[in-house]
């Protein structure tokens, strides 16, 4: 059993050394600079960092190859002992360097496997290095390694190898990063979507067809984005008053969800939703009678605020008003002066208040009955 444990250390150490070197090389090639090498090189003066990074990578590569080359009968004796002794020195030095790095640069990752190793050095990273140093000590004086015949000896060695790899994986912060890269799909919050694409999606939507007759210009007067939604504001006319037609377009490639609302441009009040098919005979006319203009009729904002939001709006249902509950307009919370000077941006911004986070998943959008 002990002999089997010592035998599996050699391929494992070789794999770790070669993997570390390839990880660093990959990072350097992608960044096109040796300067990006992370880890203990940060402890060296600037002029030494590049040669130290190159020497580390070369040492790992040559020791990995040499461990494999001296594992069999060809390198038995002194060559194998020298290579394994050098491996011990490398891992003991690395352990000491990681301890030093953790004390002096707690913000720097170990850089063991290139940019996968950007997590700050913690005890488990140091433990991994110490474990590999122990493995290297165990590999000294191991007789030439041969592939065992199929059977219990092979199974035992494979089992030991798997168990040790699992232990190393548990000590490796790189595993989480590597797994997330393998199964990556970009969230919509991070996706770059040009406005032109959003405009095309909007123009093909049912909400646009429903509200197009209110819109008076081809171009939106404001466009902004929050998370997975892009908002477009168009000026328009509705029942003889100036309105703003607001569209929210979900940022997905095909058939995005689109929402719309019509807001009084002067007061900021939400007007009843447009329903039914557009009537070519009466362009610009509302589909149903408008409620009285709220200015001068409805309680002041403060009074409405004190009474709390209207139950209908609180339920998130912008429905047509009845005679009893017509004053369901959203308060004109930001009666912004559109002619304000740019320097007043900050005071105007400070007047905006938080709104509940909008549904940002398509499933969530369906749950909220988004058209």
């Amino acid at each position: 059993m002990l002999a089997a444990i010592r035998e599996v250390q050699i391929p494992l150490l070789a794999a770790m050394l070669l993997g570390a070197c390839l990880g660093k090389l990959s990072h350097v090639l992608r960044a096109r600079s040796v300067d990006v090498a992370l880890g203990p090189t940060a402890l060296f003066p600037l002029r030494l960092r590049r040669p130290v990074a190159m020497a580390m990578c070369a040492a790992e590569m040559s020791l990995g190859v040499a461990l494999i080359g001296t594992a069999g009968t060809a390198g038995k004796g002194l060559p194998a002992t020298i290579v394994r002794g050098a491996t011990i020195v490398l891992f003991l030095t690395a352990t000491g360097a990681l301890i030093e790095l953790r004390g002096r640069r707690p913000d720097v990752g170990c850089g063991c496997f290139g940019d996968l190793s950007s997590t700050p050095v913690r005890l488990r990273t140091i433990a991994r290095s110490a474990l590999l140093a122990l493995a290297a000590i165990g590999s000294v004086a191991v007789p030439p390694v041969h592939l065992p015949p199929p059977g219990s000896a092979l199974v035992l060695r494979l089992g030991l190898l798997a168990a040790e790899l699992a232990l190393i994986a548990a000590l490796s912060p790189e595993i989480g990063e590597a797994l997330s890269r393998l199964g990556y799909s970009e969230p919509c919050e991070l996706r770059v979507v040009p406005v032109g694409r959003t405009l095309s999606a909007l123009r093909g939507s049912r909400q646009w067809r429903k509200h197009a007759r209110l819109v008076t210009t081809d171009r939106p007067v404001d466009v902004w984005r929050e998370l997975c939604w892009r908002y477009l504001v168009y000026p328009g006319r509705y029942g003889g008053r100036e309105v703003e037609v607001v569209f929210a377009v979900y940022l997905r490639p095909r058939r995005p969800a689109v929402r719309a609302a019509v807001v009084d441009a002067a007061t900021g009040d939400l007007l009843p939703p447009i329903t039914g098919r557009p009537s070519p005979a009466a362009p610009g006319q509302p589909a149903r009678p408008l409620p009285p203009h709220p200015v001068g009729l409805w309680p002041a904002i403060g009074a409405r605020t004190a009474a709390g939001p209207h139950p209908a709006t609180a339920a998130g249902q912008a429905r047509a008003p009845s005679a009893e509950d017509e004053p369901q307009f959203l308060p004109a919370a930001t009666a912004a002066d559109a002619s304000a000077a740019p320097s007043s941006l900050y005071s105007l911004l400070a007047l905006s208040s938080p709104a509940r986070r909008q549904p940002d998943k398509h499933q969530e959008a369906h749950e909220r009955h988004i058209a």
């Binding site: 939001p309 919370a333 905006s352 709104a355």
Partner: protein, 355 residues
């Protein structure tokens, strides 16, 4: 000489800072209309049928709750061993100086060394309205990419089309800065705190360690699968005000939606968004920012982009190493209100998008 005729003020021009988030198609100029930005919250609430109450600025909320803002900015009118008088806009504010009060004027020092005429940021003591806890006099900061160097004078581009800044490395701090910023040459990044002089910043304190990469080789952010987490941790920093009013509580955000920037490839391809994955937002969005070291929390509006913040992949180590990357570039008042020390330059922070 780099200083001749090219020196610019320390206050960052906000109008240019907001330029990357250009106005809507067809709008004249590149700056969104402030009135429009202020309406965004109400329009978003309308389109989702959400209730929306009239808002108040955070400072007003604090006042309504019987609290006073902790950060006071203004010109020092008078200072004595026990009293500091600040001209804050139209008003004068007097602060008692206790034995615990500390000041910064190029270095941590006694409050008595603050001089009349200094531009000071005062943090009130948590126990009293008129007691000063910390005073930072003439503090400034330059963050960005070096574009030119002549001797100890650097020209620094803060990105986003903002004016370039002049940074002069003070002789007495050259060694300390060289240790943390060994590559003071064009193409590399600097982030240095110092004393604001007429037209330049006298660099005294390195705010971080210099990234090993050039400004045009910023590492890619860690990949995020599924959806972006509701709260994101990293480092919060502060910036010098431009035409921002004193006492403004706000945040410049590194991932402002670039509506008019053509994507690097097909739609959906990742943008070069710096080394931390932040969801896209716009001016007027609101974030909850928490100082993980003090536990203080504030809801702040996004007031513009933070192009320099996305270039840095550093961590804050004020209370243990934070995750990599800068997630918030706060106004001075916001930073101080959250319990940050301006001369330290950053703190461990967590942001949540209002929801």
């Amino acid at each position: 000489m780099l200083l001749d005729g090219r020196a610019v003020g320390g206050r960052r021009p906000a109008a240019r800072a907001a330029a990357p988030e250009a106005g809507p198609p067809g709008a004249a100029g590149g700056l969104p209309d402030p009135g429009r930005i202020a309406r965004r919250g109400a329009l978003k609430a309308a389109v989702f049928g959400l209730p929306r109450l009239p808002g108040q600025p955070p400072a007003a909320e604090a006042a309504a709750a019987g609290r006073v803002p902790r950060a006071v900015t203004g010109r020092v009118l008078d200072v004595s061993p026990h009293v500091l008088v600040i001209e804050n806009g139209e008003a004068e504010e007097r602060f008692a100086l206790t034995a615990d009060a500390r000041a910064w004027r190029g270095d941590r020092t006694d409050p008595a060394t603050v001089k009349p005429g200094d531009h000071a940021v005062v943090r009130r003591h948590h126990s009293g309205r008129e007691v000063a806890d910390r005073i930072w006099a003439n503090i400034g900061r330059v963050t960005g990419m070096i574009t030119a160097r002549e001797g100890d004078t650097l020209v620094v581009d803060r990105g986003g089309g903002t004016d370039r800044q002049i940074l002069v490395i003070a002789c007495r701090a050259a060694g300390r800065i060289q240790v943390r910023f060994p590559r003071l040459r064009p193409g590399y990044l600097v982030d240095i705190i110092g004393v604001r002089r007429d037209g330049y910043l006298e660099g005294l304190v390195p705010a971080t360690s210099q990234p090993a990469y050039r400004a045009d080789h910023v590492p890619s952010p860690a990949l995020v699968s599924g959806r972006v987490p509701g709260s994101i941790s990293g480092a919060a920093v502060w910036h010098e005000p431009a035409d921002e009013p004193d006492g403004l509580l706000g945040i410049c955000y590194p991932a402002i939606d670039p509506p008019h920037t053509a994507p690097p490839g097909r739609a959906g391809q990742r943008a070069a968004s710096g080394c931390v994955s932040l969801p896209y937002l716009s001016a007027g969005s609101r974030l909850r920012v928490r100082n993980d070291c003090t536990g203080r929390c504030l809801d702040l509006p996004v007031i513009g982009p933070a192009p320099a913040a996305r270039l840095f992949c550093d961590r804050s180590v004020v209370c243990g190493p934070s995750p990599r990357g800068r997630i918030a570039d706060l106004t001075v008042a916001g930073f101080v209100e959250l319990g940050g020390e301006l001369d330290e330059g950053n703190f461990n922070a967590t942001i949540e998008i209002e929801g």
